[in-house]
């Protein structure tokens, strides 16, 4: 197997994630897209770890998984808070920082 197989796959996942983050309106969907990005990164880490014959890649992937869990927890809590305050999770309406 080529290393690049995995890297290209990861790049595609990453770009899908970026598109989702940029184009989605629903807060939950944006968080899902972030998960796509994180998984793309993880795939990279593990692929490079295997390529370099080290477990460090996996270890960091595990850390990222742990942190992703935390991130989703906090992120969903924020989305819920927004929903509770505005009766909507439409991120385009959350523009209090408008200049």
């Amino acid at each position: 197997m080529l290393l690049n197989q995995f890297l290209f796959l990861s790049a595609v996942l990453f770009c899908c994630g970026v598109y989702g983050v940029l184009a989605r309106k629903n807060g939950v969907l944006v968080l899902m897209s972030v998960e796509l990005i994180l998984n793309a990164v993880n795939l990279n880490l593990v692929a490079f770890g295997t390529y370099n014959h080290t477990v460090a890649g996996q270890v960091f992937a595990l850390f990222v998984i742990a942190i992703a869990a935390a991130e989703v927890g906090v992120g969903l809590a924020i989305v819920l808070l927004i929903f509770r305050n505005r009766r909507s999770v439409d991120l385009t309406e959350a523009d209090l920082m408008k200049g």
Binding site: V21, R24, A94, D95, K98, G99
Partner: protein
């Protein structure tokens, strides 16, 4: 101990922080920490001094400059080595016929070859290489003894020297050179007059632009002498302060500042480079500000602190300029030893060196309160009395004198002090200060101000001594003066503390304290006699040496200045003693039950009184004792200065002046002899008195003349620009700061700065309102821009690199 002397400045710094952070928790409010720290410093200083004295001398004194190959045989400190090398280089470079000489000198270095050129006479341009024989073939008589103190006759031009292969000069030099020199030099060969090599230990401080700056200590005789003086006085002042400021509300801060102040002086005297000296110097400036303004609730005190700070700052600019200049002209180095060596070797362009020396002289004038920047010192009496003692006796003001002594090579060469032509800018400054300050001391009613002007006057002595080439005399006077002046100040403090109910006014609140305060009285009188130069007390020996130096080095004018100064010193001190301790009690002294001070005050007085008696015998040349010169004179100084024996006539002259001063003043005050109410009868006397009472109108000159002179044109300018300012300017209290402040407020600030600020604001607002349209507040849009930018930059990097 010599290598680890850095702990001496470190201890008070540690004590400063300890007192600051934990002092309040102690019953003594931190005073005990300060006293203990200074005890440690004192012991360590004594240990350093002991080891220094025990240290074996390794550096031969090559009188009048060039140490030939001597300096290179031993691997001791760098400074003399450098000195030796640079001088030799110089010799080869500038003088062709000296090459042979050098050859000889190197071969027979230990034996007879004696290079006798005189760096000062070489002059800055380094063309006149006179008397460089150093040649055995030049004849047994012509040992190449050119004379340091000899005026130009022995300094012919270079052509002459080349014609006669130096024989003429050497002969001439021997013929009209004084016998002492010859004797000394010959003895130097036979007995091996050796000086102790300075101890340098340093670590790298920082490196900037390839230039390494080192932080380190330089322990030589001068440092050791100063260490002993400073630690002694500071310890006693700390002890004194525990009683004097027993219930002060800011006792903790006082002791913290006192510690820091002492450490500043320690840093200054032990530092091996000028940058570090600058650091200690400024540390003292800061601490003096804090201490003089200790009771800042009174406007007067905080004004005095500001005045002291600003006036010395004026001088500090000189130090900054001088240090920077020396760095560049002495070959990118801050190292004191190298600077001195290079200066003396004539490696530094003469004109630049003179400018640098002038800049340093300005620093000295500011810090050591020389004319015309002496005005801050009497005002500095606003601080607590022990502080005055510390500032005036051991630290702050002697820092300037120390600076000259430390960078003596620069001053020597920069001002051509060795020329002996009767004129020397350094001595002029000192001499003028001696006289004008002594005159001012006569009209003061405040006992501390008398002492303050006396200090100014005595500092003038020291500067004058250094200026006439009498290094040892100047430093020796610094040494002795520290003891008796500290004694006098602490005595004044004692009087105010226990005798006159915190008043320093001799005329209103003192008198007749003799019987109430016997210890204070006795020590005060002893110190006064020492100050007046009565033999065999400390002041006599040092003052006498200054007179001898001035006379023998060819500065007769300053001899007479010294004698007149001695007369006046004796007279005003007699007046001071009379007004304080004799006569009828007046004011507070009569009403407030004066009593003797407790032991923390009297012990320092007694110690200092005793030291005022014995300190002078360190260098009692009359009895052939010259321990001070032997111990404390660094080699590079010994190379250039000449020592003169005891001169009975001059000693008699000085003593007579002192005794006459005491007698005339004593007759006037004690026996009521002489004219009374002169100022009321003679208009000239009245004019003189008014002049003195107004301190020569110097303060007036500074506030009205200098400040006012600048004020006028600016006012017109300001009027022309903005007539609304004129009221403010005219009413300006006279302070330059005020005037400039108004000017800058109304014109620069209101128009230019505000205009710029408003303009910036307006343009920012305009820009902002355009830019705000893209600030949608939608995070996703920002993210899109972010990622897009990443792509663009990545492509750009990828393609164009």
């Amino acid at each position: 101990m010599l290598e680890t002397a850095w702990v001496i400045p470190a201890i008070p710094i540690a004590s400063f922080f300890l007192i600051l952070f934990f002092g309040k928790r102690f019953p003594s409010k931190g005073a005990s920490i300060g006293v203990l720290a200074l005890c440690a410093c004192f012991v360590l200083s004594l240990a350093t001094a002991y080891q220094w004295v025990q240290r074996e001398g390794t550096l031969p004194v090559e009188h009048h400059g060039a140490p030939a190959a001597h300096g290179e045989d031993a691997g001791h400190a760098e400074e003399p080595d450098d000195h030796g090398k640079t001088t030799d280089d110089h010799a080869v470079k500038t003088d062709d016929h000296a090459a042979e000489t050098d050859h000889h000198a190197e071969e027979g270095a230990d034996a007879h070859a004696e290079e006798a050129d005189h760096p000062a006479e070489e002059g800055a341009d380094g063309h006149a290489e006179e008397g460089r024989t150093g040649d055995v073939a030049a004849g047994g008589v012509g040992r190449g003894l050119a004379t340091g103190g000899e005026p130009p006759p022995a300094a012919p031009d270079a052509e002459h020297a080349e014609d006669d292969h130096g024989k003429t000069e050497s002969t001439a030099a021997v013929e009209d050179g004084d016998a002492t020199h010859k004797e000394e030099a010959v003895q130097g060969e036979s007995e091996g007059e050796l000086k102790r090599a300075p101890v340098v230990s340093s670590v790298r401080w920082f490196e900037i632009g390839g230039i390494e700056v080192e932080a380190g200590i330089l322990i030589d005789g001068l440092s050791v002498a100063l260490l002993v003086v400073v630690s002694t006085i500071s310890l006693l002042v700390h002890l004194f302060s525990t009683e004097y400021l027993r219930d002060d509300r800011r006792k903790t801060h006082y002791f913290a500042a006192l510690s820091l102040f002492t450490s500043g002086m320690f840093i200054l005297v032990t530092s091996s480079n000028t940058l570090q000296m600058l650091f200690g110097w400024e540390l003292m400036g800061l601490c003096s500000f804090m201490l003089i303004g200790h009771w800042w609730e009174d406007k007067e005190n905080s004004n005095a602190a500001l005045k002291a700070f600003f006036t010395t700052r004026t001088g500090d600019i000189g130090l900054l300029v001088g240090v920077s200049m020396l760095f560049f002209i002495a070959g990118n180095t801050f190292d004191v030893g190298t600077i001195n060596a290079n200066a003396l070797a004539g490696d530094i362009d003469g004109g630049l060196l003179t400018v640098a020396a002038c800049a340093l002289l300005v620093a000295v004038v500011g810090k050591s309160a020389q004319f015309p920047l002496h005005t801050w010192l009497p005002d500095a009496m606003a601080g607590p009395t022990p502080v005055s003692a510390l500032i005036h006796a051991a630290t702050m003001v002697v820092a300037g004198v120390f600076l000259i002594a430390r960078l003596y090579g620069v001053f020597w060469q920069g001002f051509d002090l060795g020329a002996g032509d009767g004129y020397s800018p350094v001595a002029m400054v000192g001499g003028v200060t001696v006289i004008i300050a002594a005159l001012l001391a006569f009209v003061q009613a405040d006992i501390k101000k008398v002492l303050a002007y006396s200090t100014v006057s005595q500092l003038g002595y020291m500067v004058m001594a250094l200026g006439v080439g009498a290094w040892t005399a100047g430093v020796f006077h610094l040494f002795t003066h520290a003891f008796f002046k500290a004694c006098l100040f602490l005595g004044a403090g004692s009087v105010a503390h226990s005798g006159s109910h915190h008043s320093f006014d001799m005329k209103a609140d003192m008198g007749g304290l003799k019987k109430h305060m016997p210890i204070t009285y006795a020590t005060f009188v002893i110190a006064s006699l020492a100050l007046a130069g009565v033999p065999p007390l400390a002041g006599f020996w040092s003052k006498d040496e200054i007179l001898v130096g001035a006379s023998a080095n060819g500065y007769p004018l300053f001899l007479w200045v010294g004698v007149i100064g001695a007369f006046m010193t004796a007279a005003y001190m007699t007046r001071c003693v009379y007004l304080t301790f004799h006569g009828e009690p007046r004011g507070a002294a009569a009403h407030h039950h004066p009593h003797e001070s407790p032991w923390p005050i009297t012990v320092p007085l007694v110690v200092l009184g005793a030291l005022s008696v014995v300190a002078g015998f360190l260098n009692a040349v009359a009895f052939d004792i010259d321990l001070f010169a032997d111990w404390f004179e660094p080699q590079f100084v010994s190379n250039i200065v000449t020592h003169h024996g005891f001169d009975g006539k001059l000693a008699l002259l000085g003593t007579t002046a002192g005794v006459l001063g005491i007698a005339s003043s004593g007759l006037y005050y004690f026996r009521n002899f002489g004219p009374r109410r002169v100022t009321e009868r003679s208009s000239m006397a009245r004019a003189g008195y008014t002049l003195l009472a107004n301190k020569y109108y110097l303060d007036r000159l500074y506030t009205d003349g200098v400040v006012g002179g600048i004020k006028g044109p600016i006012a017109r300018l300001a009027y022309w620009i903005n007539q609304n300012v004129i009221d403010g300017i005219v009413n300006g209290v006279g302070a330059l700061a005020g005037v400039l402040g108004r000017f800058s407020y109304n014109v620069i600030d209101q128009r230019i700065v505000d205009g710029a600020v408003n303009g910036a604001g307006l343009s920012a607002e305009a820009g902002g309102s355009t830019l705000r349209t893209i600030q949608t507040g939608r995070v996703q849009q920002y993210a899109a821009v972010l990622f897009g930018a990443v792509v663009v930059f990545a492509v750009a990097l990828w393609q164009f690199t």
